[in-house]
């Protein structure tokens, strides 16, 4: 297990970050090339002003009609995405790893808070799972792919949670946690998690069409 752990935090970590960064850049670049080749006429309607205007309104909780009409999902989505960024980046034990590997460090979240946020992510995962199972309009469009992505996130956070609380075999759980996290990173460019990359462009494009051509708001 120790070897696996060493592998996970060593070469596999490099691999995961490499695939994530290079994969994301490659996907963004190839999508941009495709857009230039096939959608150039539509790309030309994109403006910074209206793209950012739309993104801005959609970043505000309850700032758009869609958010307002789905209040529970709105709260869940905001909590989920905020935690998804805060916890991995500002968790003390992650910062310690940066420090031991590369010798740099920065302010961490208090452990208790980070723990709470981790629980929040898991709870929201369960909420998402409940939606996929129980709401007919979500069930109708849910496929294995969606479950895979959700399970990946849930496993990453739950193994981290268990490892932190020393529930079960710490080394096994930590190793699993690292592997799940890496799988998630690798998955970002190639699964629906890529909405992290493309979502802003899609919103920005529609924002530009609505703002610049149609002179109407889109939120």
């Amino acid at each position: 297990m120790l070897e696996l752990y060493a592998l996970a935090v060593g070469p596999l970590a490099w691999l995961a970050f490499g695939v994530f960064v290079i994969g994301s850049l490659a996907r963004l670049f190839s999508m941009y090339s495709l857009a230039k080749k096939k959608d150039a006429a539509f790309l030309s309607y994109m403006t910074w002003r209206y793209s950012l205007r739309s993104i801005f309104h959609w970043l505000i909780p309850f700032g758009s009609l869609g958010w307002r009409e789905n209040p529970a999902l709105t709260v869940a989505t905001y909590v989920f995405h905020i935690c998804l960024f805060l916890v991995p980046i500002f968790l003390m034990s992650h910062i310690v790893m940066w420090d031991t590997s590369f010798g740099f460090t920065y302010a961490a979240l208090p452990d208790g808070l980070a723990d709470g946020l981790t629980v929040a992510v898991m709870v929201v995962c369960l909420f998402f799972a409940w939606r996929r199972l129980s709401l007919p309009e979500v069930r109708f469009v849910t496929s294995n792919h969606d479950w895979l992505v959700l399970v990946l996130v849930f496993c990453t956070f739950s193994t981290g949670f268990l490892a932190y609380h020393q529930i079960g075999d710490s080394l096994t759980l930590t190793t699993l946690h690292v592997l799940c996290g890496e799988a998630m990173l690798i998955a970002i460019p190639f699964t629906r998690l890529s909405h992290m990359l493309f979502g802003f462009f899609a919103r920005g494009y529609i924002g530009s069409e609505f703002g610049g051509v149609r002179r109407a708001k889109d939120w």
Binding site: A35, D39, N70, L73, T77, E137, V138, R192, R203, W219
Partner: protein, 440 residues
């Protein structure tokens, strides 16, 4: 209740004849060609980025009315485009029938769902793409195909012949001269301030609208003209049938009529989809970023006339009235404020619908849906009970809808749900209540 498109299959002569000619191999060949030629980053991004969250369900009046998840915007994509891509176009003729039924008759391309999708996914675009594929496969509902044929043969939607067009204008001029002896409907006046353009149903069966417009323009003393040649019709059903080639020809004829007459701008009658064709779709297809001739919709034009004092109201139309926001000039052009200012200037007692403005529900006729004809009428009317409820809640007896398609769709729900509401164009009310100094 959850159904699928297969559970609500509707027979249509055009769709049946279309799929009878197909095999999965033929279908695949065509689909791959369309995807290769026209499917780009937009389609790819939308399909890959959608997180299947179902947030867009509540956007769609079909879903809100039928309460069936298979009518949600994302569900329409699931039942069409995702499958097409998953199978790389190798799908059955029956499946293409389903795609056509969804894309042509269960989506108005109203773009309301873009107000609900956090990722800004344009379901209307995806549905248009599915229509394009169906068109290329020759699987289009009979009625809308007939109008596309009419566009192709006559450059107007209703098989109006060239001489009938001129005849109708002369006839309306004659009629109106009883009321205003000096009235003219000027034809082919080069260098006029604007070319007035209408949709083909006006000369065909709503001639009073031409009469009224002529009366208003004459009363205001405007320098205007209409073309005596094809290009007068600004409607465009080919745009909705997926026949972009004919769509482009129609718009070209339209712009060229205006350019030949060297008018300063085109003023469009109260129609939404025609405005979309000229302002958003046709110009792009023909390679112009925006329209090559300035274009003004009636709402804005009337706003101008009222504000500049060129026309004055002798009285206000008695309320209460409500305002229907047509998708193609509101979400499509942002005329919601001007529309309200005009209505407040000509009517008393305006009661707003909720939601309204950019968030308004579609009339459920637009996007070519009503043009798919009787076989699909019921789904469309039942699919808009949410609009009927919205209208009913205002408690008014008059609804102003500055769009032909909206009149069609709203008339149907008003009738079906016994709302007892009368529909009006802005022109109807202005004509009825304005100062008529030139009248005899």
């Amino acid at each position: 209740m959850t159904t699928t498109i297969a559970d609500r299959r509707i027979e249509d002569a055009g769709l049946e004849a279309g799929i009878a000619r197909l095999t999965p191999e033929k279908i695949q060949k065509t689909i791959l060609a369309v995807l290769e030629g026209e499917g780009g980053a937009r389609l790819k991004t939308y399909v890959e980025t959608c997180v299947r969250c179902g947030m867009c369900a509540k956007a769609c009046h079909y879903y809100m009315s039928h309460k069936d998840p298979s009518y949600a915007p994302v569900a329409k994509v699931r039942q069409t485009m995702w499958e097409i891509l998953k199978h790389k176009g190798l799908v059955s003729p029956e499946f293409i029938h389903q795609c056509a039924q969804i894309a042509y008759t269960e989506c108005n391309l109203c773009r309301r769902c873009m107000h609900y999708c956090p990722l800004g996914i344009d379901t209307a675009y995806i549905m248009s793409f599915v229509r394009r594929i169906c068109h290329k496969l020759g699987v289009t509902p009979q009625y809308i195909q007939d109008t596309a044929h009419s566009h192709s043969a006559t450059m107007n939607q209703m098989w109006v012949k060239d001489d009938e067009w001129i005849d109708t204008l002369k006839w309306q001029e004659d009629e109106a001269r009883d009321e205003m002896p000096e009235l003219r409907i000027p034809l082919e006046v080069e260098g006029a301030d604007f070319m007035y353009s209408v949709i083909a149903p006006e000369p065909k069966f709503r001639t009073q609208l031409i009469y009224q417009a002529a009366f208003i323009f004459n009363q205001a003393g405007l320098n205007w003209t209409m073309p005596a040649t094809p290009g007068w019709d600004n409607s465009n059903m080919a745009m909705f049938s997926g026949d972009m080639e004919i769509m482009g020809r129609v718009e070209m004829a339209h712009f060229e009529a205006a350019q030949r007459l060297r008018v300063k701008r085109i003023v469009m009658g109260e129609c939404g989809h025609a405005f979309r064709a000229i302002y958003d779709v046709g110009n792009r297809w023909l390679g112009w970023g925006m329209h090559p001739v300035p274009v003004v919709h009636s709402i804005e034009f009337f706003w101008d006339l009222l504000n500049s004092g060129k026309i004055r109201m002798a009285k206000k139309y008695p309320g209460p009235v409500t305002i229907h926001d047509p998708c193609n000039v509101i979400r499509g052009r942002g005329l919601m404020d001007k529309l309200r200012e005009v209505v407040h200037a000509i009517c008393d007692g305006v009661v707003e619908m909720t939601p309204n403005r950019e968030h308004n529900y579609c009339c459920c006729a637009g996007g070519g849906v009503i043009n798919c004809g009787p076989p699909f009428k019921n789904v469309r009317i039942v699919g808009n009970s949410v609009k009927a409820d919205q209208l009913k809640a205002t408690g008014v007896k008059t609804c102003i809808a500055p769009c032909h398609n909206c009149h069609g769709g709203l008339e149907d729900i008003i009738h079906k749900y016994g709302l007892g509401i009368e529909l009006k164009f802005l022109g109807d009310i202005i004509y009825e209540c304005m100062e008529k100094k030139g009248a005899s």
